[in-house]
């Protein structure tokens, strides 16, 4: 149960990254999972290669990936805003392939484990062994969501970001530096992916294909309506639990595709997701 909840949180965090970028720029970032992978690898590199402490490495990894996200926006992604969706999809897929290739060249295609302060420790809670790694994921998600919520609701920059995602032109006229806001949103989104990556690393293993978790996070984002931040989290947790139960009760093989089946069913039955609203083109 806790297991599924924790994995669901990771899906939710990656989905959150999708949603942030989608809401702000209407780009769907197919490289989100690969940003997660970069985050995990960067943290691993600091901890194991350079012997940096876990928390410092965590912070460094998140900061670096966030910075990378901002640079990515400023140099590449900004150029294609306003182009058809198709170009965007292809562009981010291409970027994802480049990241994976970069990771395999820089860090090799072996599989690594990230040692953490909570590795292989467990507390007995009401007679059930509770692994600290899973607890760390859940706590991390809750804290991160609280911080993000506060940021978007109470700070000027957060409000400015909301404004620029709702009406680009109007925000621009009101003196909000829209380009900077977009870069910041990319930074936040990449940072969230990196956090998810570092949190996931102890329970999963780090390899260059870690990013494929992004595909399952799509299911979470779609389930949540692709535009709703709480929806993304709820969607993520739902997918995590569905996976857990289908692994337990259904024949082998279903666990791996459960997320995709849910995704297809949701898209076919209720394309706007659980939290989304129907919109249609005005003529």
């Amino acid at each position: 149960m806790l297991n599924g909840l924790a994995v669901g949180c990771i899906y939710g965090l990656v989905a959150l990254g999708f949603v942030l970028i989608y809401k702000a720029t209407e780009l769907v970032n197919f490289a989100q999972g690969d940003l997660l992978m970069l985050g995990a690898f960067t943290c691993y590199m600091f901890v194991v290669w350079y012997g940096v402490g876990y928390w410092v490495a965590f912070a460094l990894a998140v900061a670096l990936v966030a910075l990378f996200g901002a640079v990515l926006d400023a140099t590449i992604l900004r150029r294609i805003i306003g182009q058809p969706q198709f170009s965007v999809v292809m562009l981010t897929i291409g970027l994802g392939a480049i990241f994976r290739s970069f990771a395999s060249i820089a860090w090799g295609s072996e599989i690594y484990t990230l040692p953490t302060p909570f590795s292989a420790r467990a507390t007995r809670l009401a007679g059930v062994a509770v692994s600290h790694e899973y607890v760390s994921i859940i706590i991390g998600t809750v804290v991160l969501c609280a911080v993000l919520y506060a940021f978007f609701t109470f700070t000027r920059i957060g409000l400015a970001m909301q404004a620029s995602s709702q009406n680009q032109l109007a925000a621009y006229y009101m003196g909000i530096p829209v380009k900077l806001m977009f870069s910041l949103i990319w930074a936040i989104s990449a940072g969230v992916a990196a956090i998810a990556g570092v949190l996931l690393a102890p329970v999963s293993l780090i390899d260059i294909n870690l990013g494929f978790i992004g595909l399952k996070a799509f299911a979470a984002a779609v389930l949540g309506g692709f535009g709703s931040i709480p929806g993304a989290l709820v969607g993520g947790i739902t997918i995590g639990l569905i996976e857990l139960f289908s692994g337990a009760y259904l024949p082998q093989g279903f666990k791996d595709v459960a997320a995709y089946v849910v995704l297809l069913v949701v898209l076919a039955v209720r394309p706007q997701g659980m939290f989304g609203a129907i919109t249609r083109k005005k003529v």
Binding site: I76, S87, V89, L95, V257
Partner: protein, 382 residues
Amino acid sequence: MSVRFVFKTSYDQDLGIFRDDVQRNWYLALLVGLLVLPLLIPAYVVDVSLVFIYGLCGLSLMVLAGYTGLVSLGHAAFLGIGAYTHVYVVHDLGLPWVVGVALACVVTAAVGVLVGLPALRMTGVYLSIATLAFALIIQEALTRWERVTGGLKGKAVEKPVVFGVHLGGDTAFYFLCLAFLIAGLWLTGNLLRAPTGRAWVAIRDSEIAAQSMGVNLAVYKTSAFAYSAALMGVAGALFAHKIGFLAPDIFTVLLSIQFLLMVVVGGLGSLHGALFGAVFVALLPVAISQARDSIPVWLSAIASPFGKEAGAATFLAVDQFVKKPGLEPGLFGVILVLFILFEPLGIYGRWRKIQLYFSTFPLYKRATFRRQKTYMRSERLR
């Protein structure tokens, strides 16, 4: 070079597959070239056969993504279904080869309809995500349904026997693929100059207007899916023979992305583009493997004036770098990004620009093809 005008004297002229006689003669010359190609470069016949198979895949995705505007991220799954159906029918059921191809075509078309129906309610990127999910499910199914697919152990494929004739040789297979590609091009070209093709393009550009002009969106989106899938099924049957061994991990998302790369690099919305893209994607790995051997040698030659050690060290370092396994997909990624950013019209678009440059010289205006800068236009309301 002068501007070439096409004089038209009847509406019939606009219905031909070729623009004019000059164009037709160029294509005839190309065909003759392809017919004698196996004599000229026998070593590359297998690679060129793959170009033809990929050409069919390119056509398939061009119909769906380039003409109808439905971007599928799961076309490798259709290729897989086609390949496995064909091999199962021919090897396990012992039916004739032609029946295998026909059934591969029919089964994939049927699956295409099944995917197309829920896709009617989705737009834009949602459809891409859904097809991606579909492909991942199919891949898992191919792994698990061992009785038919052989599971992870895979399945060996024998050489094709068409109407009792053994096509064991590479050259024979080359002509088989070429014949299928030409047939595919002809059929697709026919559809595109008929009402069906126009309805597809209409859906791509404005669903609502297409609907108001009497286009039944459900019928035409589904037919685009079915036709595209059927082409993919035929390509799958040929592909099975080309690789000689089927395993579920051949038909991955990465392969789907390569197909998309084909239509982007070639140029969306043109049949030429599909073929240019196929040539590019099929031959790039060949070029890369050649480059892997030659680049370290070149670079060490450049470094050798600085001493023998420098040359040898460069050779070793570069050699180690270019032989990293992750490099090739990364290179594909780089190419994709560069094309999207700098040449969204693809190779075919670049080709047209060069043609126009020479035919209007010295009056060519760069601005002719410039993209208009627009503010973010919401695609949520499509």
